[in-house]
């Protein structure tokens, strides 16, 4: 690259008086003054949430109303800040979902620890834990900031399912194919 010497021009008289620059600045600020405002007035106006957004982690049910989580505890082990605490529980064999071996007895996510990394969602073999659109969690006490199982299902609701893995397993069993 060749070196291009730039001529450093001395300031003109007009520039040294500051006046033209100040007038140009006043023109710019006036344009901003009359322009529509940029602010999103938050509690009334909400930002558009893009797909793939990592909000508050929630537990979801499949379209049949069955809780998807089988308390494998992978999320608990992968969680970097150790925000998840799962107490595994059995499912009664005569229950409609008896073919699913386990379900969580209690599932707690401490939102004061959660870092919204989404690793729990990534690791879940059942697509049971999903980071959804809610981005604002508030509470007056530390206890309020720990989401228990009921609260997690309330936040999560039902999401569409394309696998119905456990239904397939049950049909296969009924047709005598134990190992599908």
């Amino acid at each position: 690259m060749a070196i291009v010497p730039l001529e450093r021009k001395p300031l003109t008289f007009a520039e040294r008086t500051y006046v033209p620059q100040i007038l140009a600045g006043l023109r710019t600020t006036w344009q901003h003054l009359v322009k529509p405002k940029q602010t999103l007035e938050y509690p009334e106006q909400r930002p558009a949430i893009p797909p793939g957004y990592r909000g508050v982690p929630t537990l979801v049910m499949d379209p049949n109303g069955r809780e998807k989580c089988v308390s494998c505890q992978l999320c608990e082990f992968v969680c970097p800040p150790k925000a998840i605490r799962i107490t595994p529980g059995e499912i009664a064999p005569d229950a409609p979902t008896g073919h699913v071996e386990k379900a969580p007895k209690e599932f707690e996510i401490d939102m004061l620890r959660c870092i919204y990394c989404g690793m729990c969602e990534e690791v879940c073999p059942e697509e049971a834990i999903v980071l959804q659109n809610q981005f604002s969690m508030t509470g007056y006490t530390r206890e309020e900031m720990v989401n228990n199982k009921a609260r997690l299902y309330e936040l999560g609701g039902t999401l569409p399912d394309s696998h119905f893995k456990w239904d397939k397993k049950k049909t296969a069993e009924e047709h005598g194919n134990d190992r599908h």
Binding site: T29, H32, L33, T39
Partner: protein
């Protein structure tokens, strides 16, 4: 009512008039602090303070939300907070002077208004009588003399705070204010040279300056000069005056005494609560008075337009309805015109504040001494020679 007022002792009358004027200036000062926040917000693309509201105002259908958007109640909330919060007095300060400083700031700011006429009415003979607390002949001199006392409050505050940043702020304030007072005074001299024609009673009164700008259009003759505002006859004077006014009221780009980026808060670093509030009301009052003086000197005072003096306007209005010619209506109209111009100037102050960054301190000194002062002197000489030729010819 008016007879009862006129039967009072002149001193009581004066006190009542003074209180009335202060009662107007104080809320305008408070509203200016809100306007400052709103203008800054708009310039930065924000809506500005718009949340606080009193419930019984919220019930008013359209007006309530409008006032809320305007942030009117934030002024009251801020004022109330300032009154009721703890007024801390740091242990290391010189208590007497520390408390004295905000008081010294308020006194000149509210005293200068005495010599500033703010409106006019027409008596039965059709003469324009200016409205002022004291329409004295030394008007301009009184304003300069008293307003320059304001610097003592900054020096006192900086010194009494007994800490380094306020001290630096106080030192800067004193140097800056004294430097710019020179060019300010020199810049208004041509106006008074023009006003004080030989053979007339000499005056430095501000009402007389406005009277000089109240001519009507008289064709392309020299008589038409009377209707032109001084900003058009003496643009350089007006420019020097307003620049010096920015420096005198510590406004951006000259807010060296405060310069929160390098001096924390400058002279008021150690102040809080109501004492701090007093400094700010004083600053806004000084701005108001300064804008008022600029309006009187260069923008035709209470005359609505160049070549349209107040007397002509009132003449047209009386044709519409004789009620409009009543002295009280005319007085209110003239005060309205005057205040409108003053508030427009205040907006200009804010607009500049949110446009121009602060000068470096050496630049402030250089502009003051090496540019503005020679310009003011050259301007004065040019007009002195010009006026001498005009009056001889």
């Amino acid at each position: 009512m008016i007879d009862f007022y006129l039967s009072l002792h002149p001193v009581v009358q004066g006190v009542l008039k003074g209180l009335a004027v202060i009662l107007v200036i104080f809320p305008i000062g408070g509203a200016c602090s809100m306007a400052e926040r709103k203008v800054s917000a708009w310039i930065q693309g924000r809506p500005g303070p718009n949340r606080a509201i009193v419930p019984w105002v919220a019930w008013i259908p359209i007006l309530g939300p409008f006032l809320q958007r305007l942030g009117i109640f934030h002024v009251m909330a801020d004022g109330g907070k300032m009154l009721f919060k703890e007024d801390a007095l740091p242990g290391h300060v010189n208590k007497f002077y520390f408390v004295l400083a905000p008081i010294v700031a308020m006194i000149p700011a509210l005293t200068t208004v005495v010599a500033v006429p703010f409106g006019a009415y027409l008596d039965t003979a059709g003469q324009v009588i200016p409205l002022a607390l004291a329409n004295v002949d030394i008007g301009m001199l009184a304003v300069f003399a008293v307003s320059s006392m304001g610097v003592y409050s900054l020096i006192l505050a900086g010194w009494a705070s007994n800490s380094k940043y306020p001290f630096l702020g106080g030192v800067r304030a004193s140097a800056q204010l004294i430097s710019y007072e020179l060019s300010m005074t020199l810049s208004v001299m041509p106006v008074f040279l023009w006003v004080n024609a030989p053979g007339r009673e000499a005056t430095l009164g501000l009402a007389r300056v406005v009277e000089f700008q109240s001519g009507s259009w008289a064709g392309f003759t020299s008589a038409s000069w009377g209707g032109v505002w001084f900003i058009f006859i003496m643009p350089v004077s007006a420019f020097v005056f307003i620049t010096a006014l920015f420096a005198e009221t510590n406004r951006q780009p000259f807010d060296m005494p405060e310069s929160e980026a390098d001096l924390v808060g400058g002279f008021h670093t150690e102040y809080g609560a109501f004492k701090w509030g007093l400094f700010f009301v004083a600053e806004y009052s000084a701005m108001l008075i300064g804008s008022g003086v600029f309006t009187l000197l260069f923008l035709g005072g209470w005359n609505p337009l160049p070549w349209v003096p107040l007397a002509d306007l009132v003449g047209w209005l009386t044709h519409l309805s004789p009620v409009l010619g009543h002295p009280i209506v005319v007085g209110l109209l003239s005060i309205g015109i005057f205040l409108g111009k003053v508030l427009a100037l205040i907006f200009f102050f804010m607009w500049v504040r949110w446009t121009v960054p602060r000068f470096r301190y050496d630049q402030v000194m250089e502009i003051g001494w090496k540019k503005l002062l020679p310009l003011a002197i050259a301007n004065l000489l040019a007009y002195a020679i010009g006026i001498a030729f005009l009056e001889r010819g």
